[in-house]
């Protein structure tokens, strides 16, 4: 700040160059951390994915080209996990969008107890995912749980595939709907009250006002929230680890890659999965940004200062 104030007084071009240099210097530490702790490991996992590298047999290390990719991509376990991850992602994001929109409208429109609702709804956001997951696990454990108690005797939902998937989705949706609702509520604030009033004067019903005025105007906020949550849901791990640990074919890609690393100690295959997961996430982000024109959150095209 002082450097900038000092140089700005001189010729404009020199001032601009100093400003540019200061900008680079200030960003350098952040860039360095991100390159070293994120960039380098990604490149490294790309290298590892081309090797036969199993920590149990260190002397059998060799470059094997794309063999690991062939192994993973022909494995039914991988595709099972991939399909489940897509399913959990799609269903939970849709549910979160609908529920989140309802909560957002409730928080935005309500007059009585507004502060209380806005405060309490943050609790699921603040709770540690693992802690909440144990809550759901015990709630559905026969004998212990209040929710399991409502089921017919002998039902153990976490030991069956579809009920377990449902509970995983429930846990995800419960935890992240408030976040979605907050993003959507900020989007609601962008809809001008006058436009809604004008539509009401023209005889639009409340539902018509919502679908034909509010939703289109909120589109950027909705798309940004969807992008955020889709990519976040795709890496689902904590809930599954606690609820089923991948039993009953409920592994997500993150869970299966984790078990390959920690249980299997197979770095080659584990890294291959890491790379494939990364590529999928990049593809989803690309589709959102190019296909739907989602603005990258926080982008500042006009370079306001």
């Amino acid at each position: 700040m002082t450097a900038r104030a000092g140089t700005a007084a001189r010729t404009p071009s020199e001032g601009r160059r100093a400003e540019r240099r200061l900008g680079w210097w200030l960003c350098a530490p952040a860039a360095l951390v991100m390159v070293l702790v994120a960039g380098w490991p990604v490149l490294y996992s790309l290298l590892l994915s081309l090797q036969r590298n199993d920590l149990r047999f260190p002397d059998r290390r060799a470059w094997v080209g794309l063999d690991n990719y062939a192994t993973v991509l022909t494995s039914p376990f991988w595709w099972q996990a991939f399909g489940l991850t897509l399913l959990v992602t799609a269903v939970s994001v849709v549910l979160e969008l609908v529920l989140g929109m309802a909560v957002a409208v409730a928080m935005y429109r309500t007059v009585v107890g507004r502060g209380l609702v806005r405060t309490v709804v943050l609790i699921p956001y603040g709770i540690v995912t693992v802690a909440a997951a144990y809550g759901w696990k015990y709630a559905w454990t026969p004998g212990t749980g209040w929710l399991a108690g409502m089921l017919p005797a002998g039902e153990a939902p976490l030991t069956e595939h579809w009920p377990a998937v449902g509970i995983i989705i429930l846990a995800e949706v419960w935890k992240t709907t408030p976040f979605m609702a907050l993003l959507l509520m900020a989007g609601l604030a962008l809809v001008p009250e006058d436009t809604l009033k004008a539509a009401a004067m023209d005889g639009a019903t409340a539902w018509q006002r919502f679908t034909m005025v509010t939703l289109p105007l909120m589109k950027p906020a909705i798309l940004a929230a969807l992008l955020f949550r889709t990519l976040d849901a795709f890496r689902v791990f904590d809930n599954i680890y606690v609820l089923t640990n991948g039993a009953q074919q409920t592994s997500s890609v993150s869970v299966i890659a984790y078990h390959n690393l920690i249980g299997g100690l197979n770095l080659g295959v584990g890294s291959t999965m890491s790379v494939l997961i990364f590529l999928t996430v990049a593809l989803v982000a690309f589709v959102f940004v190019k296909g739907f024109g989602t603005a990258a959150p926080g982008r500042d095209p006009e370079g306001r200062r």
Partner: protein
């Protein structure tokens, strides 16, 4: 919206939202106060209340160590992320330089990055460097994941500071440092505090790095420690202990979130909506 019928309808909706947020938490709390004999009776509220579960986990060295690790690693990671992120956010909010959008783009990329993609290579890299199962071994990935959030949130906050006040203070005879300390710092502080809370929550909530990059309680954080609770040794049945431990790691964050509700909402939504 002012009519009585409307008011009643919104109150009902509000009540639903409150139940939605509170019931699952109340369940964990209720579970944590149950005695071993009644824990598997299936009732929602405890029939007999006890604090034994809490006494048990605080007498458990692994859990206490996990808490210390969580707090220490979380605070250090947050401090580093804020220090590094503030510099970058200031530059992004205030200075014109090429590469600005690259920094923002890369941090966005990392914010959306699947953690598992970093776990496998970091596992191998950290074992080579001797960082596996140490505090720095967890601080590094935590900083990396807290940093994008810090840069985003802070640069949005910084854009809203009326920087002309700095010039005005200098014209009134303040030194640059005084202008910073007395005028700019107080304006920037709320944003920094909010961002620090959000960054700390990110670190505190982590589970995947903690179970993958540690092998003992030397660095294992509390959420991971809980997942290692078993019924065999100290505890007959880990349910009560796990519920109590879940409450212990949840309550401080929930209190924080409730205290700083307004700011956290603005922090969470700041970067996301201004497309």
């Amino acid at each position: 919206m002012t009519t009585g019928r409307n008011r009643a309808r919104w109150s009902a909706v509000n009540a639903l939202v409150l139940l939605y947020a509170l019931v699952p938490v109340a369940w964990i709390a209720a579970l944590s106060f149950k005695t071993p004999a009644t824990i598997s009776d299936g009732a929602f509220w405890p029939r007999r209340w006890t604090l034994d579960n809490y006494r048990g986990i605080f007498a458990n060295d692994d859990f206490v160590r996990g808490l210390v690790n969580s707090i220490g690693i979380g605070l250090i990671s947050t401090a580093v992320a804020i220090a590094v992120g503030t510099l970058a956010a200031y530059a992004i909010a205030r200075l014109a330089f090429p590469g600005k959008s690259l920094v923002l783009g890369v941090s966005l990329l990392i914010a959306m990055f699947p953690q598992i993609s970093l776990v496998t290579p970091l596992f191998q890299i950290e074992r080579g460097l001797g960082l596996f199962n140490t505090w720095p071994g967890l601080i590094l990935p935590y900083v990396t994941f807290a940093l994008p959030l810090t840069i985003y949130t802070l640069s949005t906050f910084f854009r809203e500071i009326p920087w002309d006040l700095e010039k005005a203070a200098k014209m009134d005879g303040a030194t640059p440092f005084q202008a910073f300390r007395l005028v700019i710092a107080p304006l920037a502080m709320p944003g920094v505090v909010t961002t620090a809370i959000l960054a700390f929550i990110v670190c505190w909530n982590d589970f995947l790095f903690s179970i993958s990059l540690t092998s003992s309680d030397a660095a294992r954080t509390a959420p991971a420690t809980i997942s290692f609770f078993t019924g065999s040794s100290q505890f007959e049945d880990p349910t009560g202990s796990i519920a109590a431990a879940a409450m212990v790691i949840t309550v401080p964050i929930v209190v924080f979130v409730l205290l700083f509700q307004r700011r956290i909402v603005s922090g969470l939504t700041s970067g996301a909506v201004k497309g």
